[in-house]
């Protein structure tokens, strides 16, 4: 256990000394300053307490009642923070930045010179990979807590209303990061290079996005002939490869009490998404270990 923790602890200790860490911290501070600090409340002429941004009332669509405006302050804060902080910055930009910043978490243990230090110890190569991956998750969780937790806390302090639901995006963004980072670890084991690892994980994310495109293009599923086969093939591919792009949607449905009960979404779809993501996470780590065990350093 000592060895495992020492290897995992290498990751935060190492990233802390790099300039990218401080840039990420500045970005998080900037996002919090721009998105959460301007929040406030104001009682409108019709005696309703409304959420404001830089003093102006925020008009958000009510997800529970399409076509209507959100009036409840707590619900407004939830929707606002979930959309901007949770999905856009947490699961979007945050995951991307994490994949780039932590691309060398596993590979740095195997690069020439480091492999000579780490491998001739009574520690299995698989232990090194899992420990370094968990170290990366640890750092990612820290940033997610800082970003999303910070936004929830600032919003509560500024409005006097605690809306904790967006905190769900902390594990969701970390899970999206985890699946992709595990995929990058396969590349790290084969070619110990942070760039290769970053390309592998970000590339897998882009592939997931690209194969989701037919769901975003109206009428794509109404095509016929060869095009229909292509769209069906892309859909199938999307369900086979890791689906980090679908995980935030799952969280959103859980928050909105629509688990397995949204348009085109059944409980079976939700369970498949959860199982497939967990399976890819484990499979990617297993493959990374297998590759590392069989190669010379």
């Amino acid at each position: 256990m000592r060895a495992f923790l020492a290897l995992a602890w290498d990751v935060p200790r190492r990233i802390r000394t790099g300039w990218f860490f401080w840039i990420l911290l500045l970005l998080v501070a900037g996002v919090l300053a721009l998105v959460a600090l301007p929040l406030g409340t104001r009682t409108t002429d019709d005696s309703l307490l409304r959420l404001t941004w830089f003093g102006n009332v925020v008009d958000l669509p009510d997800p529970d009642h399409p076509g209507k405006e959100l009036i409840d302050v707590k619900r407004s804060i939830e929707v606002y923070l979930a959309s901007f902080i949770g999905i856009f910055f947490g699961c979007g930009f945050g995951v991307f930045a994490g994949l780039v910043a932590l691309a060398d978490a596993v590979s740095s243990a195997f690069v020439p010179g480091a492999a000579e230090i780490n491998l001739p110890k009574p520690v299995r190569r698989g232990t090194i990979i899992i420990a370094r991956h968990l170290g990366a998750l640890w750092v990612a969780t820290g940033f997610a807590v800082l970003l999303i937790g910070g936004a929830v806390a600032i919003a509560a302090l500024k409005t006097g209303v605690l809306a904790p639901i967006p905190l769900v995006y902390i594990p969701v963004s970390v899970a999206s990061f985890g699946v992709l980072h595990a995929v990058g670890s396969i590349a790290s084991s084969r070619a110990p290079n942070a760039l290769v690892s970053a390309f592998a994980s970000v590339g897998m994310w882009l592939a997931s996005l690209a194969t989701y495109l037919p769901n975003m293009i109206p009428g794509a599923h109404d095509l016929s002939g060869m095009l229909k086969h292509i769209v069906d093939g892309v859909d199938l591919l999307h369900r086979v490869i890791p689906r980090p792009t679908d995980i935030p949607g799952l969280a959103n449905r859980i928050i909105e009490h629509k688990f397995g009960n949204a348009v085109d979404v059944t409980p079976a779809y939700e369970y498949e998404l959860m199982g497939q993501s967990a399976a890819w996470w484990l499979l990617a780590l297993f493959l990374a270990i297998l590759v590392a065990r069989r190669r010379d350093f």
């Binding site: 780490n118 491998l119 009574p122 299995r124 010379d296």
Partner: protein, 344 residues
């Protein structure tokens, strides 16, 4: 005595990739290092030294043959638990201090906190790492070498693989390391030293194995390899011997050669040197020094590598025979001669 390091018929072929042809780095080498022995693994670049050390440390998997540390196959956790390894090229964590590096190393060997502290204090003192509390990125090459040694010693290993341990050290530092190696040897550890500095190896290694083109071309006890078997002596005479003195001495020796102010005397056996000394004294020559002639390791190394085999066989025990390198030498013998001899 059971060998701590045993290498038998070890072969390694690296795949050549898509377009390259496979590279045979090791062609069936064999040797053994016993407790309390310090063996120098010598050879020119590309001879297979690093591959051998990497196999023993578990970094590379052999294609054929066996390599074991204390009976456990090299690469297994049980073998690595007994191994202290100083790599030639190491990326020490620059953001840590020397003490933090050693702490981390102790954790990798699962040492409890108190034991880690005790060993860190011991080894920092042992290698004289006076900058242990500074960040590694501020270390000089010599300080990094000292840190590497301290890291290799921390697990209290029974086997030490040291790749260029004196690299970057000044002459004083090199002497300290040599003294340390002798001390470690006396503690009963088996040490395999990989070095380009033949003078260093000659000073501290009691056994050497010379690799060339992936095969052991010479191996044995350093003293025996470099000795002339009691057949060549150096006489220092004052005043310098005149031509008629040399001619007279040549009558009782097989050959006499003047080299500077010394006489190099070749004799048939050790008893003959007494006759030479008696004759020199009868001619009123003052003998200031008499010593057995000994080749340097560098001379021996160059001959071995250039010919692809050990120098021609001599009668004295322990010497290696000449001839082409054996493609698949037998396993190390358990007798006095530690290393197998290439077949003449």
């Amino acid at each position: 005595m059971e060998a701590y390091v045993e290498v038998s018929g070890l072969e390694k072929t690296y795949p050549g990739g898509f377009f390259g042809s496979p590279v045979q780095a090791l062609r069936g080498i064999s040797f053994a290092v016993r407790p309390g022995e310090l063996m120098g693994l010598l050879g020119p670049n590309g001879a297979g030294k690093t591959t051998t050390v990497k196999i023993l440390s578990g970094l590379v998997v052999p294609t054929a043959g066996k390599a074991s540390l204390l009976g456990a196959p090299a690469g297994e956790a049980a073998a690595r638990a007994q191994l202290g390894y100083l790599p030639e090229r190491a990326l020490w964590p620059d953001h840590l201090t020397g003490i933090e590096c050693l702490e981390r190393e102790g954790k990798l060997f699962d040492l409890p906190r108190a034991e880690r502290r005790r060993r860190i204090d011991r080894d920092v003192g042992r290698v004289r790492l006076e900058v242990a509390r500074r960040k590694v990125k501020t270390y000089s090459k010599g300080e990094r070498a000292r840190l590497g040694l301290a890291l290799a010693l921390l697990p209290d290993p029974k086997v030490l693989l040291l790749d260029e341990p004196t690299d970057g050290l000044d002459p004083l530092g090199r002497r300290e390391v040599r003294d340390l190696l002798v001390e470690l040897k006396k503690e009963g550890r088996a040490i395999l030293l990989n070095s380009h500095l033949l003078s260093e190896a000659e000073l501290c290694c009691d056994h050497v194995a010379i690799l060339a083109r992936g095969a052991v071309v010479a191996a044995g006890r350093t003293e025996e390899l470099l000795s002339t078997g009691g057949k060549e002596f150096v006489l220092k005479i004052v005043p310098p011997a005149k031509d008629d003195d040399v001619a007279a001495l040549a009558t009782v020796a097989r050959g006499v050669k003047v080299v500077g102010d010394e006489l190099h005397v070749e004799v048939g056996d050790e008893a003959e040197i007494d006759k030479v000394v008696d004759l020199a004294r009868s001619r009123l020559l003052s003998i200031r020094e008499l010593r057995a002639k000994r080749a340097t390791l560098e001379q021996y190394f160059l001959r071995a590598v250039e010919t692809g085999a050990a120098p021609p066989p001599r009668e004295a025990g322990g010497r290696l025979g000449g001839g082409a390198p054996h493609p698949n030498p037998p396993p190390a013998s358990r007798g006095e001669g530690v290393m197998p001899r290439p077949t003449p």
